[in-house]
Each structure stands twice: as C-alpha cells, then as structure tokens.
C-alpha cells in the first residue's frame, strides 16, 4: 500500500537532516574562546527546524493514512515523470555544452531542443523552428554581448 505524500516527504526530510548533521561535524569547525555561539550554531538550528518539521509531517502523513488509506493523486500525469527527467537532462546537457563549446555555438541548438521539448501538443515544422532558434540565439548574444557588455562563456575548447 502506498504511503501518503506527506509521510514520504517527512521520511526524506529526516534522512536529509541527519546527513546534514554528519556534514556539520565534517564540514565545519568551531573556533575556541568565542564570546558568541560560533559558526556551528545556525547549522544546528537549521538541522533542528528541518528534523522537527519532518517528524511532524511524517506524523500527519501517517494519521491521514490511517484515516484514509487511499493513495494521493499522482503529482505528474501519465508520462510526466519521463518528460521532466528528459527536460532536466536537456538542461544539464546544455550547461555542459555551453561550458565546453561556449554560448554562441550551443545556444541555437539548445533553443531548438527547448522549443521541441516545450511544444506540448503543438505541431512544429523543423526548418522554420531552426531558423527561429538561430535568430533568437543570435539576437540574445548580440543584445547581451554588444548591447549590455555582458561577457558570455567562450567554451573551454576555444579558450
């Protein structure tokens, strides 16, 4: 039987807070002889806030589950999980390509890919879409680099 979403969020929160607690020990140091609580105080406060609220959320999820064992309505419709995974991987791939090949080369391809990814039910013709992608990417590059004097990544291959 599937748990309620609040209960799952609570469990994830508890696990995350304990990972954070371990990181506090590993990734922070406490200087001696301070007149104030020191740099570890706020991480501990954040840990306590997340842990306590996660426990309360887990409790709420379990109480709701007992009252009504029916599972929650799925957050994404059918195929939504696959779609958001692809969209996110596309975002990561774009970042990597910008890093390697630079903005100017990557942007037209990325724009084209984003347009196709976000098109939904709309039918698109590849050639006009490609032309629009090149125009959009070129216009943005010209506007930022020449208009606003913003430096954009040149790509580690061309540095």
């Amino acid at each position: 039987m599937k748990m309620k979403r609040d209960a799952v969020t609570g469990i994830v929160g508890i696990v995350a807070s304990f990972i954070y607690l371990i990181l506090i020990q590993v990734q922070t140091t406490q200087p001696a002889n301070l007149l104030e609580p020191g740099p570890r105080l706020f991480p501990y406060v954040a840990f306590c806030v997340v842990l306590l609220s996660s426990i309360m959320l887990l409790r709420k999820g379990l109480v709701d589950w007992k009252k009504d064992p029916k599972p929650d309505k799925p957050y994404f419709p059918k195929g939504g999980k696959k779609k958001i995974t692809i969209s996110y991987l596309l975002l990561v791939l774009t970042a990597v390509c910008i890093h390697v090949f630079g903005f100017l080369i990557t942007a037209p391809f990325a724009t084209f890919a984003f347009i196709y990814d976000l098109r939904g039910e709309t039918k698109l013709k590849p050639i006009p879409t490609a032309i629009i992608s090149v125009i959009v990417a070129g216009a943005l590059y010209a506007m930022f680099v020449y208009g606003f004097q913003v430096r954009l990544p040149a790509g580690i291959l061309f540095k």
């Binding site: 740099p39 969209s87 975002l91 939904g120």
Partner: protein, 507 residues
Amino acid sequence: MQYYLDALLICLQPINLLLIVAMVSLGIVFGAIPGLSATLGIALLLPVTFGLSTETSFVLLLAIWIGGVSGTFISAVLIGIPGSSSAIATCFDGYPMTQKGQANKALAIGMTASFIGTVVSVLLATLLSPVIAKFALTLGPWEYFSLCFCAITLVASLSKGNIFKGLMAAGLGLMLGTIGMDPITSVQRFTFKVSYLNGGISTVAQMLGMFAMCQIIRDSARGTAKMPDAGSAGGKGFGIGLKDITDNLLTIIVSFAVGLWVGFLPGMGSGISNMVAYGYAKSTDKHPETFGEGNPAGVWASETANNASLGGALIPMMALGIPGDGITAMLIAALTIHGLQAGPLFMTNQPDLAMLIFACVLVSAIVTFVIQVLTKRWFAYILKIPYHYLYATILIISYIGGYGISHVMFDVYVMLALCLLSIFMSIGGLPTSPLVLAFILSGKLETYFRRGISYAHGSYADFFTRPLSAILLIIAAVCVAWPFISDHRKKKKAAAVSNASSDVNDD
C-alpha cells in the same frame, strides 16, 4: 526647499528628461525580463558614468533603478515568473489573475501601486530623512535579528496546507544559507574545498533555478504549460477605478508602511518587504483563503511595499551612508567614484546633490508611470508569443543570468541543482517562498544574532528586554502558534455544534 526646486529644474532640463525617459524604459525592460534586474542595469551603467558629470551620472543610475524595480511586476503578472526577488509575492496573486483573464486589472494595480509606493515614499524620505536617521542609530542587532526572525515565521506560518511544510522549507533555506564563509569568524562551512562556494550560493542562480527553470519544465511535464488568455489581457481602459483604490486603502497604507520600514532598515530591501507585506495582507484579510488564487489585495500589498522600500532605502543611504539593499550599495559606490562620501555630512555639505537624488527619483517615478500607462497594451503581447518560443528563450536567458553575475560556470551548475531541489519540493508539496526568504535572510539573521550576543558579553537577555525586539519576537511566536490555536478553536466549535445538533435530535 530652494535646493529641492533647483534640483527639480535640473531633472526637467530637456536633455536630462530625455535621459530619464530612455533609462526608465531600459529599466522597465531589465525589470520585466527574469534574470535581468535593476542591479545588473546599474552595474552595466556604472563604467559608463566615469566620464560623465556627477549630476548626469545620477540621473542615469536613478532612472534605471526606478524603472527596473517598477518593471518587475510585468513578468510576475503575465507569466508568473518574477523579474526579481522584489516581485516574488506579486506572482502569488498577479499570475492567477492573469489566468482568470484579469491581466489588464493586475497590470493596472501593479502600475498604480508602484507609483503610489515610490512617489509617497520618496516624498517622505525627502522630508523625514534626518529625523528617521537619528532613530535608526538607537537600534541594535537585537532588533534587526527579531525583525528577520519575524519575517521568516510570518511567511512560513502562512504557507499553503500545513505550517510544518512552511517550516521545513524555511529550514532548508537556512541550510542553503549556511553554505560558504560564516559571516562573523569567516570559518568555511559546507564548501567541500570548492572555492566558488566560499561566498555562498548566488542569489541570482537560486532565483533563476528555483523559479524560472523549475516552473517551466515542471509545468511542461504536468501538462499545464500554456499561455494565459491573451484576449482579455489586453483589455480596454485603464483596468481599475478609484473604487479599487479605496476598497484596498488599508492594505495600501499598511503595505506602504511595511515597505518604507523594511527598506529603511539597512541590509533589507524590496526583496523582503513584498513578502512581509503580502503575509500581513493575507493574515488580516477577511478571506485569507482567496490569496494565491487571484486576490487583487495581494498585488496591491506586494507592489506598494516593494516600491515604498525605494524611498525607505534612500534614507539610510543618504543620511548614514549605509546601503538599504544591494542596489543602494551600488549607488553609494557610484558616489565614491565621483569623489563623494555618503553619510551624515553628505546632506549638509552637498545639499544640492542630495536634493537632486530625491528629485530625480520623484521625476523618474512619474515618468515610469506615464510610460507604463502609454505602453501597457503592449505588455500583453508577451502573452501572444507561443509558449514554447517564449519559454525556450527564457531558459536561454536563465543561463545568461546564471553566468552573467559572477562569470563562472559553477553558478550555472548550482542553478541546475537548485532547480532539481525545487522540483522535489514541488512533488513533496513544500512551498518555495519560505525557503527563498530564509535563504535571503539567513546571513543577516545569523550576523545580528551572534553580534547581539557578542555585544551583550554572552547574554541572550537583550533580545527579550529591548522593547521593539521583544514585540517582534512575540509577533513571531504568535505567528507560529496561531494555526494550532485556530485549529483547536475550530475543532471545539465543530464539537459544540455536533453536540448541540445531537441534543436536538435526542429531544
């Protein structure tokens, strides 16, 4: 008074007026496009001012500032993505209004509230600067800590669904805020020996990842990615009447006071005032459940407050030389470039320039309003752009914004990581606004708390014994306790009603 009139005449000189119109228009564009901001506009203009006179430089910088802060509501209302952190709360009701076909009204509210907020706050700033600056000197880290704490609890307690979700999101915001060098002893925390993390997570990367990127791909995956009704967005007429203002007068006055005060407090700014004012408007409204579903009061509150912060931020900048927010810090830098030192002596030694700053903000606010009224019908054209073209462009701009501030790809990867966090938060039903507020305030919260204890030689008592600090902490405690008290009262009432009805049935 003579100095002020002279300054007004300088602003109204044809060349200066033309510059104001041009810079205000550019500022509106910067404010409206997510990832761009008035801060970036000022940063880009600063080098341009090196060769200009002090007067012309300030005309340019102040005009782009006013246009930029005012323009942020446009994208918040039309596409649900804030132009900057000062319009986050505007999205909560502005975008639902657009989805309901009331974009024309939401835009008109945004313009009018921005105008009221800026004009009245700058007039007050001009009059009250010296008096209020004196009072600010009496506040210590205790009051500043309590104010930050109160703001976080207020927003967390008003989160949709469950207070624990709000608190958990706020806790996550605090966790993110602790990354980087600790603000007092400069000890590195959670940097994993990555030097890019020493300064903490970039606010721009955080905002673009959690708002722009996450919203676009999440809506697309959920099948809710479509543009709002464009037909009604470009509606005829101004969109609101005098009755709309009088109906929301109390919200406007309270939000204005909140905005002015938050803007006035050093280190705060429009990014915080809009959230606090929104939270207050929601908690005092007769129908708080309608907030988030297109209640015009939410837009009035947010837009009045964030623009009132402009005048508020000018006060410590002019009178004390302390920046009210990031943008005023840049304006102080601009003063320094021109050989001037903001601070208590600035207003007495350079009254002509001090008054020019106030006058230029006033003229820029009026010009902004006029430009927005004249071009409002074209704002809605953004809605006629097919979703996939517009949002693909915004995704590309997000990469530029993520990279543009620090010029390192690391911030782009941070942006993507926060986008992923935001997706998981959405699935778990956790709200984003408490996280954003806690993240923005975490540094200040920690600094003021630790400074307060340090100044009091290790004592915590001053947080509770200083009147203003104590009042703010009581408000924060009530905010956290209120949902439970309210729940308990509702249950008691329901039990009483069911008992009464069973008694009637027994009879």
